[in-house]
């Protein structure tokens, strides 16, 4: 138990230490922003510091917190739906090539329709509600998860399954302990991508359907030509996504993919 905790603490410290590079990149972005602000003036690109202050004020206002929570809830609901449905259908298609052949063309069609078109359709079907947002996310994020799950199962090492069978594992045991574990490798990056898509589509759907949340607030800022407010909302949306991704998806991935770290030469870990 102690060793497990020590291992986790070590990984967390490594992760925080690797954050320096990320901070440097963010500092560069801030510098470019400042330069842009000085070149084009306050109206086009407001002062980054002023924007950060606006974010700070917004983040502590109860009204803004409600809006953020609403969008996060919608995005997470859509993400959970697409993750569950995508994984389930993907796994079935991974085992059954016939299902894969049937589903692939459908996915191409679904992927071919831009998310904005889906928003228009779901708005007409479900009105301006949370369902509209969730269904749009489901349609936009499902294909990525599906393909990853299907590939993960289809490209599994069957030798491991045979090994498990020799030691008395039945079909369900092999699925749970062997196949699902192998599918996790491609699945987690796809889930991170799907989560990002979920937030983006949620804001977009809210804005277009005027369904409140961050998207609604952005629409209001646009109507008032309030650039600092719009930028502040964008930053808040990104911050929420980062919190959810690094608080939920990445730790799960790090837990499942612990062995990959062992495979890395030491220089890359830092």
């Amino acid at each position: 138990m102690k060793a497990l905790l020590a291992d986790r603490a070590e990984r967390l410290l490594h992760f925080l230490w690797s954050g320096w590079a990320g901070l440097a990149a963010l500092a560069l972005l801030a510098a470019a922003w400042q330069a842009g602000h000085e070149r084009w003036g306050d109206f086009i690109l407001p002062d980054p510091l002023a924007t950060v202050q606006a974010v700070w004020v917004l983040a502590w206002s109860a009204e803004a917190q409600d809006l953020l929570w609403l969008t996060t809830k919608r995005a997470l609901a859509g993400f959970a739906l697409s993750a569950l449905a995508g994984t389930a259908i993907g796994i079935i298609a991974g085992y059954a090539p016939a299902v894969m052949r049937l589903v692939r063309p459908l996915l191409t069609v679904i992927l071919g329709v831009p998310p904005i078109a889906w928003i228009v359709l779901t708005m007409m079907w479900f009105g301006t509600s949370s369902t509209t947002v969730a269904v749009t996310i489901l349609i936009a994020a499902l294909p990525v998860v599906f393909v990853a799950a299907a590939e993960g199962i289809a490209s599994r090492d069957r030798g491991l399954g045979d090994m498990a069978e020799v030691f008395g594992y039945g079909t369900l045991g092999r699925f749970w302990f062997i196949d699902l574990r192998q599918a996790a490798a491609p699945l987690f990056p796809a889930l991170a991508l799907a989560l990002g898509t979920a937030f983006k589509v949620a804001v977009m759907a809210e804005m277009l359907a005027n369904a409140g949340g961050i998207g609604g607030a952005l629409a209001r800022a646009r109507a008032m030509l309030d650039v600092p407010q719009a930028l502040a909302w964008v930053m808040l949306a990104v911050a929420t996504l980062v919190v959810v991704e690094y608080g939920l998806v990445r730790p799960m991935q790090a837990e499942v993919e612990r062995w990959r770290r062992a495979a890395q030469p030491w220089g890359i870990k830092r």
Binding site: G159, L160, D162, M163, A164, E165, V166, F167, G168, Y169, G173, F177, I178, R181, V256, E257, R258, W259, A262, A263
Partner: protein, 250 residues
């Protein structure tokens, strides 16, 4: 005494092409039988049928043992689990209480001569020989009374191969399991087994078998070498064991 494993006229075909037919072989309790034959003669298929991985299409397989285990040509370790968890993997289905797992794992690791600090490593951090040791420990952890070895040391270099063979000889002596050891290396068969069965060139039955003198553990190097020379030069059973052109196989 009933046999640990009894194969009666076992046959198999892939897509209508017969790869094995009329294989009859019986292995007694505690007996190690090496099955030799040129590559492509269907040895691995036979091991898979005997272990229950492939359905029996023809003939009958009777298993008189209680628990079996298998060591494959590639170690087939779970890349996401440490050596310790890999060794413990079969225990989940053995009915052994979880509290007794660590002791069992340590015991199996000791038999495979694995060191304690290596048990915390992932397969990717271990060398080829160490991975095969983990695979052997994983087979021994369930305390099997029958072990299938499917060309387990083919991919290892000569020195490593010998060490692994010594390991199997010592383990079979200690744990008293019966084994079917598939190999195309006659020298390996002579070192490890009590009896050598030779598969017919095209998998049509067992061409013949030879009982080896003494216990494998007491057989000297000179004795093994002399036996090998005698088999290869004087015994017609082993005449074709090395002269197969796999390109000409149907």
């Amino acid at each position: 005494m009933s046999a640990a494993l009894d194969l009666r006229r076992v046959g198999h075909a892939y897509f209508g092409q017969s790869v094995l037919s009329g294989i009859t072989l019986s292995i007694g309790a505690g007996e190690v039988v090496a099955l030799v034959g040129p590559s492509g003669s269907g040895k691995s298929t036979l091991a898979q049928i005997a272990a229950g991985l492939t359905d029996v299409r023809e003939g009958r397989v009777t298993r008189g043992y209680a628990r079996h285990a298998m060591v494959f040509q590639d170690p087939r370790l779970l890349p996401w689990a440490t050596a310790r968890d890999n060794i413990a993997f079969p225990l989940r289905r053995s009915g052994l209480p979880r509290g007794e797992w660590p002791a069992r794992v340590e015991q199996a690791a000791a038999m495979a001569e694995l060191e304690a600090e290596d048990l915390a490593k992932y397969p990717v951090e271990l060398s080829g020989g160490m991975r095969q040791r983990v695979a052997i420990a994983r087979a021994l952890v369930v305390e099997p009374d029958f072990v299938f070895f499917d060309e387990p040391f083919t991919a290892l270099d000569v020195a490593l191969k010998r060490r692994m063979q010594d390991l199997v000889i010592a383990a079979s002596r200690r744990a008293q399991f019966a084994a079917l050891f598939i190999t195309h290396d006659l020298a390996e068969a002579i070192r490890i087994a009590h009896r050598i069965a030779v598969l017919e060139l095209r998998g049509r039955g067992i061409a013949g078998e030879r009982f080896l003198p003494e216990e494998p553990a007491t057989r000297t190097e000179e004795h093994c070498f002399a036996l090998r020379q005698r088999f290869l030069t004087e015994d017609p059973l082993f005449r074709h064991i090395h002269d197969v052109d796999e390109r000409r196989r149907p």
